[in-house]
């Protein structure tokens, strides 16, 4: 039985099941031709992968937190962020209510040693 750790999404079997199609979409973005097709019509691309309406909206809105909540694995979600030219530090800011600059500064100051 797993204990919950506050502020810490754990990508477990049920999460992975929930996010399965969305994560497949993210993985497909490794390839340039898929990125182009996605950019041309994001909604249609989401439908092709069978995303749920909530997942579809989260992807189109670039609602990174919602993507995680709806079963996204951070390593997969990151493929979409990369496509948008976003860094992992930008995502870190999104998840923690900081700007990218603030998040980078926190990391350079030794990381968030206060939240562990």
């Amino acid at each position: 039985m797993r204990s919950e750790i506050p502020g810490t999404p754990v990508f477990d079997g049920q999460t992975s099941r929930r996010g399965f199609r969305m994560n497949k979409l993210f993985m497909s973005l490794r390839f340039a031709e898929n990125r182009e097709r996605f950019r041309a019509d994001e909604g249609a691309y989401c439908d092709e992968f069978g995303l749920s309406p909530e997942q579809r909206q989260a992807v189109i809105d670039r609602d990174w937190q919602a993507m995680i909540d709806l079963g996204g694995s951070i390593f997969y979600v990151y493929k979409l962020a990369m496509m948008d030219g976003r860094s992992m530090q930008y995502l870190g800011g999104v998840f923690t209510g900081m700007t990218e600059e603030e998040f980078v500064a926190a990391m350079r100051a030794g990381g968030r040693t206060d939240v562990r």
Binding site: V10, R30, F75
Partner: protein, 283 residues
């Protein structure tokens, strides 16, 4: 005759470490501290080239997908292509494998009760190539020796326990001893140190835990093998749990090892980066 582990290298495999090297930024103020710290290890490694290396790593949505998630996998190919992770391939050589040693490990480990998944084809991502770059910054046309990938699921819960990883390492150690050729082996355990990429704790770093882990991996790995998944995630972050891969490396080495060099640096993007190089010929 046997395959003898001559060294073990624990190192982070953060993609930005590879990117900093590929883009010539290792002298940038934000990176110099990390790469300066690598130098003594790299110099020692350059003088101790093994016949084969084993890289224990995890894939990050590049070589394998979530439809099939193996707990432990081993490559048996004679060549592994560097993956295109979505921004072009890293400008590093493809990897030459050693199928004979792979199949020896596979047969011995399966007999020993480890339920490996066999990969005959595998693209290797930054989890694999960044440690090779940490070891060998300028490989030229080829890495210093053939390399065997050993894959570990650290992304999808339930990951193998720390205890199981340590036991696998020990079994690898035994398997190498029974190899019917005299060769030398370097073994790399990759990932870590503390980091968490998502959630309200994103950016968490735990230097005390990292320091404990760095000390114990040398002198008391059994203590680390007793950590539960929950403890690892709590102390090292949801992605820091990947340090269980260091235990596989450590298990394959002798009880006593000699630390050649270690280094700890924050941050490599969102991560605490660690390196520890151990000489297995402690005597």
């Amino acid at each position: 005759m046997s395959a003898e582990v001559i060294w073990g290298l624990a190192t982070s495999h953060v993609p930005s470490i590879g990117a900093a090297m590929d883009r010539g930024k290792t002298e940038d103020p934000n990176w110099k501290g990390l790469f300066d710290g690598y130098r003594p290890a790299r110099e020692w490694l350059a003088e101790h080239r093994p016949d084969v290396a084993i890289v224990i790593y995890n894939d990050h949505a590049n070589g394998i997908d979530l439809d099939i998630v193996p707990t432990f996998g081993i490559g048996t190919a004679d060549r592994y292509t560097v993956a295109d992770e979505g921004f072009g391939k890293r400008p590093v050589p493809d990897v030459i494998g050693d199928p004979d040693l792979s199949l020896h490990l596979l047969e011995t480990l399966v007999d020993d009760g480890f339920d490996l998944t066999v990969f005959q084809e595998l693209d290797v991502d930054h989890g694999f190539t960044v440690p090779l770059s940490v070891w060998t910054p300028d490989p030229g046309d080829a890495w210093p020796c053939p390399v065997i990938p050993l894959l570990v699921n650290v992304i999808q819960y339930p990951q193998p326990t720390a205890k199981r990883c340590y036991a696998l390492g020990q079994a690898i150690g035994r398997a190498l001893k029974s190899y019917p050729k005299d060769i030398t082996v370097g073994i790399l355990g990759t990932g870590g140190m503390s980091h968490q990429l998502a959630g309200a704790r994103a950016g968490m770093i735990n230097p005390e835990f990292d320091a404990m882990f760095m000390a114990a991996i040398e002198s008391d790995p059994a203590k680390l093998a007793a950590l539960s998944r929950e403890e690892l995630i709590r102390e090292a972050g949801s992605e820091g749990i990947e340090m269980i891969m260091w235990l596989i490396m450590r298990g394959a080495m002798n009880e006593r090892v000699r630390k050649v060099h270690s280094h700890y640096f924050v941050p490599a993007s969102n991560t605490a980066a660690g390196l520890a190089l151990f000489d297995n010929r402690a005597s």
